[in-house]
């Protein structure tokens, strides 16, 4: 599909329409015509008259083909994990400077609360000497493969809006998620698996609910499909009781034959799309269980992740993410909702790190040893940070903090061994190389080969994009 650069067609909808027209032999003349006329896509009409998941090329040569987004829902404390603040230790128990708090809104606490020193020690790791907390020893072991951003900032300080912003670029519901934008732009490489797969682990589902992986106003086919690492992996994947594979095959053959007869009689091409959908459904029925069966992985790999076949865990999900990417799935997102430490932060962060540190690092190691890390962008982070002030009384908690937080990225064209940005000595505000959520999104799209200002979809009379009217690619993060 590289000829799109010649024709200058950049809207993926245009591309899919063009593909459709080419398939149907209407010819290029009318395509150019339609484009010149500003006819914004017959495919935008809400009816699917072409395959929206056909592989498409981005605007320019991409660095990454796939994305794995490890979403730490609930908002992990940057101060305990990735942003070393020795001065905060010094000021433990004192009041923050009043001018810092001017106009500051907090969710639960009176902002005029005493400061809470970081609870863990930091040390330097790898050639790059990245400072990483002692509760993330495994991440430390891959420090030279990752880029840490200590200067993230966001607009929302409540969970649902914050998660929606991080996942869709807007605090308002109804916008397409990052994963759906990516599959909308790139289509799918897999014939028998969905293009965008979602897992959930931790204590509960994400605050943003299904909207975190929704398709908004994009075609529904771009919505994330939830997989489960235990039980039936995809809803309604298994044959019902009493239906064996022989019967299923015979039934599908009969459905196909009758649909074909109808296609002959009526002529509606939508019937052939339906035939294809049933065929892919049948392929999924065998490919998904095979994909989900990690028991065939060598013990060394299971140990690397800390994965246990048959269990439902973040570790298993990390291993599955690798297996999905290997099979051509474009976007895998793991939600791990357990980071909302308003109290008992020391203990609960330790628990969370025990659950997630090894698998996250193992994923990077495993992708790397298979040569997949170069083309897979891995991203770790939550929806905002935590206050340097304590949420008390009598316990070690931190409240929601939108001004500063930390994430890390790896692979897929990210400059490894980088630490970007600085917060002030309390970890309250970003003071250098501020990266807004929109900038992060622009950068992710850039690595996938998209100009974030040109990946658009027309809806309600205007072109929408993931980054709305914002976003700058963070050049310092690029390899």
């Amino acid at each position: 599909m590289s000829d799109q650069h010649r024709t200058g067609i950049t809207d993926p909808h245009e591309i899919s329409r063009r593909w459709f027209l080419a398939q149907c032999g209407v010819g290029l003349g009318s395509v150019a015509l339609g484009h010149l006329l500003g006819e914004t896509g017959l495919a935008a009409a809400g009816q699917q008259r072409s395959d929206p998941l056909a592989p498409k090329a981005p605007h320019y040569a991409p660095k990454a083909k796939n994305v794995i987004f490890l979403f730490m829902a609930g908002a992990p404390s940057h101060l305990e994990l990735l942003d070393h603040k020795p001065q905060l230790t010094r000021f433990d128990g004192t009041m923050p400077p009043a001018e810092l708090l001017e106009g500051y809104r907090a969710a639960f606490i009176d902002p005029h609360s005493t400061l809470l020193g970081p609870k863990f020690k930091y040390s330097r790791h790898g050639q790059c000497g990245a400072e990483i907390s002692e509760v993330l020893p495994h991440l430390g072991s891959v420090a030279d493969d990752i880029a840490i951003v200590k200067s993230m900032t966001t607009d929302a300080f409540n969970h649902a809006p914050g998660q929606i912003l991080m996942n869709t670029g807007s605090q308002q519901f109804g916008r397409p998620s990052l994963g759906s934008w990516v599959t909308y732009g790139l289509g799918s490489e897999s014939r028998d698996l969905p293009a965008f797969v979602v897992f959930s682990s931790g204590s509960k589902g994400p605050s943003g609910g299904n909207a975190c992986w929704g398709s908004g106003f994009l075609p529904t086919v771009h919505q994330g499909v939830t997989f489960r690492s235990a039980g039936e992996p995809v809803l309604y994947l298994s044959n019902p009781k009493g239906v064996d594979s022989g019967l299923q095959k015979a039934s599908l053959d009969a459905v196909r034959d009758l649909n074909r007869m109808r296609l002959q009689a009526i002529g509606d091409p939508e019937i052939s799309t339906r035939i294809n959908s049933f065929e892919m459904a049948f392929r999924m029925q065998s490919s998904v269980p095979d994909l989900m069966d990690i028991s065939k992985e060598p013990q060394s790999i299971l140990d690397l992740y800390g994965a246990e076949p048959g269990k439902s865990s973040y570790a298993n999900n990390c291993l599955l993410a690798r297996r999905l990417v290997e099979r051509g799935v474009r976007f895998v997102q793991l939600f791990h909702e357990s980071w909302d430490q308003h109290a008992d932060l020391t203990n609960r962060i330790q628990t969370n790190c025990r659950d997630t540190d090894r698998p996250s690092a193992a994923l990077l190691k495993d992708l790397k040893q298979r040569g997949l890390l170069d083309e897979t962008l891995v991203l770790w982070g939550g929806e905002f940070g935590r206050t340097p002030m304590v949420q008390g009384p009598e316990t070690d908690g931190r409240d929601h903090h939108p001004n500063a937080f930390a994430v890390w990225l790896a692979g897929g064209g990210i400059r490894p061994g980088t630490t970007l940005g600085e917060t002030d000595e309390l970890g309250f505000n970003v003071v250098q190389d501020k990266v807004h959520v929109h900038d992060l999104h622009a950068t992710i799209l850039h690595l996938l080969g998209f100009d974030h200002t040109r990946l658009t979809h027309r809806f309600q009379g205007r072109d929408f994009r993931l980054t709305d009217v914002h976003g700058n690619v963070v050049k310092q993060l690029l390899a």
Binding site: L33, Q47, F173, L237
Partner: protein
């Protein structure tokens, strides 16, 4: 010609484009050469969209970079700081062209953005070369905006002349045929009767016709046969379900709050109101007025108030620690968007942050519209079914009769009551209201909003178990007692005073600490001598919400100072009279008296939520006010506040109703009337519980509306009054500019977009695509309608017929256009994939709910009951518990017949959409949706193949087929086939399906599959089979039924 028809654009446009294409192909050698004379670039069609997309944001109404404006002809021709932008006839000499083409050494435009598409640049060049023709009408003056077609009220167009007049069944066809003839097309033949009836039935009621209905139609040879079917279906109660569901999309209806907790809400009365309103063909103008302002209509009925649930379908964030005003604003924005998309067909939400970029709507005008809606309480009321309303009336009548009996038996009652009133203690203590500062942390994420009367309104997340801490310094001395008032508020459930779903609350402990203001360290608990209140409830032990939960007691106010958190002062009378303001007075043992002022800290412990702390039984205080007094022996006024207010009115000026209220209170104080009072109490206990509904109720005090800078509620700008945008019809001149006036304005005959928007959307419902494709937007960014005059004709006709929706439906389904066959050649499908030219009948997959309904109807499982509480249709349990869901959700899977209710009745959690409906594109209710996507995916195939309800349908269809489908397999096959598809199978289809059936029978006989497993029964619990039928047969027919239910045609309208 082929491509022309395909694109559906006027011929003149094509020529212009052909010319531009040609130029492009020979560029650059031909630069400057005149464009081919046969085509012209059209400003409106070709150039303005480019300006709008890429230039106007900096050179338009909002910003005029370098003083250049490209939204106005005169201003554009004058140019900006750099000089004249356009030299007609000389593109190379025009700054506009130079800058967008990147010629010369200046930065290429658009500044900081991507360069224009090469072809757009070329179009601009050709346009300038051709003389830069910019019609006066298209922005002749920067101030006067050209009237966009949709902003001029529709008038009835002349019917076009057509060659084949015999085809025209009603005026719709004249417009459609004229367009076809102009394109050299002719209509398709009428669909065969069976296809037509199935289409009509799916369209009007969302259910396939039964075999009997098909046969009756086939047997009816009268000329009115089709019309008879139309009337039958329009008269069906399922019509309201079918079209109601589409309105519910626009109304973003769902059964939960949204956001993370996504608590269930009980709002199905609104859903049922929509269904019933459509069934009785409530005229659309009234349908809208009642939904926007039914509560403000004179003598508003319960139904009319319920209708305002439309505006309340916004999501609510009850996350801990929110700023409630932020999310009230989000809900307001959501309402504006819903009105814009669903009623006006104008993207008004675009002006929330700035002036609309394309349509002539300013940000000020947006907030003037906003102001109409901004003066309402977010109320929750009790509502009653018709049966309950009757019972309620009877009870109230009985109560009146008992009171009357009392009065008749005691003729001296009036004098006695007057004496009582005269002897009442008028010497009430003087109370000083205090509004201490709330410790935010102690509210457990609730927000305590201070009100002007010194009270606090609790908002946001319900706080569950907590102990609010409030502190104040006062110079009053001495302080002898404290009063806590629990007050009503329009924003509380049932008016409060509490935050439980029934508006009640409980106070576990009331504590005060005091210290001399100059010695804050000497804070000491104030020991209370007594507590009194105006309600003395008997102690009641609450059932713990969780097993093994601590026992909780509510009762008299003394329980609030007993030092035990397990016991509380309760204010729940146990019946509908519970939503009264209440008060309690706590007297200190020792007066507090500090010469230099006193520091007071109040603790209001609220730990009576049981296990449902975030949900409906939180028992948190809703609105409260604290006061202090210096008087000795202060006690709570035993009179209810309302009675005290009436008594302050001169007796002669009291209304009979007010006197009745005084009597109803007074009789309870007469000791010897205990028997009568108990009888009345007993009647109150029989009062129906009713259910709840979120509605609007107008506030008495006007809430000011400000223009919000960039839509940010923290940055209010100037205050605005309610008003309507200049480009739309004016507001009626008489009467107040309130929500009701706004509602009337929306459906004024002069409203240019309202009727067009509605008829366009109904049209979309039939043909899959509206006459204007973007059914949510008729504004300047919308594409021209495919049939502009038809749209106007329909809009005018609709209004002339009294805004009758059924009449509009009748008109469309009786047109020849609608009745065409959808059979076409693949080439015809390719040439006009979306059927914009309407040269064939509509064919597409039915809506999500109907996909399910068809399977249930075909199998005979469907339950036809209309309305009622939403049902928990079968779904996997894990979706509603952690870790899939943020919080555990109720999903008690429906058993028995409720499993098989229509899809419209399935309970809808916004954060966990019902999987089957979501997979087939049903919207989640997070925002208004007037155009569903129509996808075709493998997950849909997995659903119809494997989802339990579909399998249950296959089993039921098999059993029914064996019982009722005839004696031999051909008859049975035809029976099952017709239940799914209405038509007879072809011979080829029969052959293929019978082969499948035989194959399955053999496999079953060979023991590959257990017949009972497939048939869904255990051998012990087998159904009665017709004589001679084996379990293997039942299983084979189940497999066959499953095939039928999975056909594309089964879930398609043809």
């Amino acid at each position: 010609m082929l491509s022309k028809r395909f694109l559906g654009i006027p011929a003149t446009g094509l020529l212009a484009i052909a010319a531009a294409c040609l130029c492009l192909q020979i560029t650059p050698s031909s630069r400057g050469a005149p464009a081919e004379t046969s085509g012209r670039v059209d400003f409106l069609r070709d150039i303005r969209p480019v300006f709008q997309a890429s230039c106007i944001s900096c050179h338009g109404p909002e910003q005029q970079m370098a003083e250049l404006r490209l939204d106005s002809r005169s201003r554009a021709l004058v140019g900006g700081q750099s000089g004249r932008a356009i030299q007609p006839g000389n593109a190379d000499g025009s700054l506009l062209y130079q800058r967008v083409a990147g010629l010369g050494d200046q930065a290429q435009m658009p500044m900081g953005g991507k360069p224009l598409d090469p072809r757009a640049i070329e179009l601009i060049r050709v346009w300038i070369e051709q003389g830069a023709d910019w019609p006066e009408a298209a922005g002749g003056d920067g101030a006067a905006i050209e009237r966009h077609w949709a902003y001029v009220a529709p008038s009835r167009p002349e019917l076009p002349k057509v060659r084949d007049a015999s085809w025209v069944a009603n005026p719709i066809d004249a417009f459609v045929l004229a367009r076809m003839e102009a394109q050299g097309l002719s209509p398709s033949p009428e669909a065969d009767r069976v296809t037509l009836l199935r289409r009509l039935s799916l369209d009007l009621i969302g259910l396939p016709p039964t075999i009997e209905e098909v046969d009756a139609f086939l047997a009816d040879d009268s000329s009115e046969a089709y019309r008879t079917q139309v009337e039958r279906l329009l008269g069906s109660p399922h019509y309201g379900e079918r079209w109601g569901r589409r309105w519910l999309d626009a109304a973003r209806y769902a059964d939960s709050d949204g956001f993370e907790k996504d608590l269930p809400r009980i709002v199905w009365f609104y859903r049922d109101w929509v269904i019933r309103a459509l069934n009785r063909d409530l005229p659309y103008d009234r349908f809208i007025v009642e939904q926007l302002a039914g509560d403000m209509l004179p003598g508003a009925t319960q139904d009319q108030i319920v209708a305002t649930g439309y505006l309340r379908n916004s999501m609510m964030n009850l996350e801990g620690g929110i700023d409630p005003e932020q999310f009230r604003m989000e809900a307001m924005f959501d309402r504006m968007e819903a009105v814009g998309k669903g009623i006006l067909g104008v993207t008004i939400q675009c002006a929330q942050c700035h002036n609309h970029k394309y349509d002539p709507l300013t940000q000020d005008e947006y907030y003037r519209l906003f102001a109409f809606l901004n003066n309402a309480h977010e109320a929750q009321i009790a509502v009653y079914t018709l049966e309950e309303q009757r019972r309620r009336e009877t009870l109230l009548q009985q109560i009146r009769e008992v009171e009357l009996e009392l009065q008749q038996r005691h003729p001296g009652w009036r004098t006695r009551m007057e004496t009582w009133e005269r002897d009442l203690d008028r010497d009430l203590p003087q109370w000083t209201v205090v509004q201490p500062e709330v410790d935010d942390f102690s509210t457990q994420g609730q927000a305590y909003l201070p009100l002007e009367d010194g009270s606090y309104l609790a908002q946001g997340a319900t706080g569950g178990s907590h102990r609010v801490k409030m502190t104040i310094r006062t110079d009053h001395r001495p302080i002898t007692a404290f009063r806590l008032e629990l007050m009503n508020d329009g924003d509380l459930p049932m008016g409060g005073p509490g935050r439980s779903i029934n508006g009640t609350c409980a106070l576990s402990e009331f504590e005060v600490e005091a210290a001399p203001a100059d010695q804050p360290d000497r804070m000491r608990p104030v020991k209370m001598a007594s507590a009194t209140s105006d309600i003395v409830p008997a102690p009641l032990e609450l059932t713990p919400a969780t097993e093994g939960g601590e026992p909780r007691v509510i009762g008299p106010v003394a329980l609030a100072i007993d030092g035990k958190e397990e016991t509380a002062w309760g204010v729940d009378t146990g019946n509908v009279n519970r939503n009264q303001p209440r008060k309690a007075v706590f007297r200190a043992e020792q007066p507090i008296d500090h010469a230099n002022g006193t520091l007071l800290t109040f603790y209001l412990t609220q730990k009576h939520a049981g296990g449902d702390d975030q949900g409906t039984g939180n028992r948190n205080l809703g609105r409260l006010r604290l006061s202090i007094t210096a008087e000795a022996d202060a006690e709570a006024d035993p009179l209810p506040r309302r009675v005290r207010e009436i008594l302050s009115i001169e007796p002669a000026r009291r209304t009979p109703k007010q006197m009745g209220e005084v009597f109803s209170y007074w009789r309870t104080t007469v000791p010897e009337w205990g028997r009568f009072n108990e009888r009345i109490e007993e009647l109150w206990r029989q009062h129906p519980k009713g259910t709840t509904q979120l509605v609007l109720s107008e506030r008495q005090r006007l809430r000011p509306t400000h223009v919000l800078s960039r839509g940010d509620f923290l940055r209010p700008g100037k205050q605005v009054r309610p008003g309507v945008p200049a480009f739309l019809n004016p507001l009626a001149e008489n009467g107040p500019a309130d929500r009701l006036a706004f509602a009337h304005w929306l459906v004024d005959r002069k409203a240019p977009t309202t009727a067009r928007t509605l008829v366009n959307r109904i049209w979309q419902g039939y043909f899959g695509i509206g006459l204007v494709r973007s059914s949510e937007d008729l504004g300047k960014q919308s594409e021209r309608p495919s049939h502009p005059k038809l749209l106007d004709w329909l809009a005018v006709e609709f209004m002339d017929r009294g805004w009758s929706l059924k009449s509009l439906h009748r008109l469309i389904v009786t047109s020849a256009t609608y009745r065409q066959s959808s059979r076409a050649t693949p080439q015809q499908y390719r040439e006009d994939p979306y059927n914009r030219l309407l040269a064939r009948g509509p064919r597409f997959r039915v809506d999500a709910e109907v996909v399910r309904d068809i399977a249930l109807a075909a199998s005979g499982l469907l339950r036809p009951e209309v309305g009622g509480p939403s049902v928990y249709s079968p779904a996997p349990e894990f979706l509603f518990v952690r870790p899939a869901s943020f919080s555990p959700k109720v999903w008690e899977e429906a058993q028995g017949w409720n499993r098989y209710r229509r899809g419209i009745y399935t309970f809808r959690y916004r954060s966990v959409p019902y999987p089957m409906l979501q997979t087939f594109d049903a919207p989640s209710g997070e925002s208004s949706c007037v155009r569903r996507p129509l996808s075709n995916t493998p997950l849909q195939a997995l659903t119809t193949l494997n989802e339990p309800v579909f399998l249950e349908a296959a089993r039921a269809l098999a059993l029914r087929t064996l019982r009722e489908g005839g004696d031999n397999r051909e008859q049975r096959l035809t029976y099952a086939f017709r239940r799914c598809l209405a038509r007879q199978p072809t011979r080829a289809e029969v052959g293929r399906l019978l082969a499948f059936l035989s194959e399955q029978k053999h496999r079953l006989a060979d023991g590959w599959v257990s017949p009972w497993d497939l048939a869904g029964y255990s051998p012990e619990d087998r159904p009665r089979l017709p004589e001679g039928t084996t379990p293997a047969q039942l299983a084979a027919w189940t497999a066959l039924s499953r095939v039928l239910l999975n056909l594309d045609e089964t879930i398609s309208k043809e």
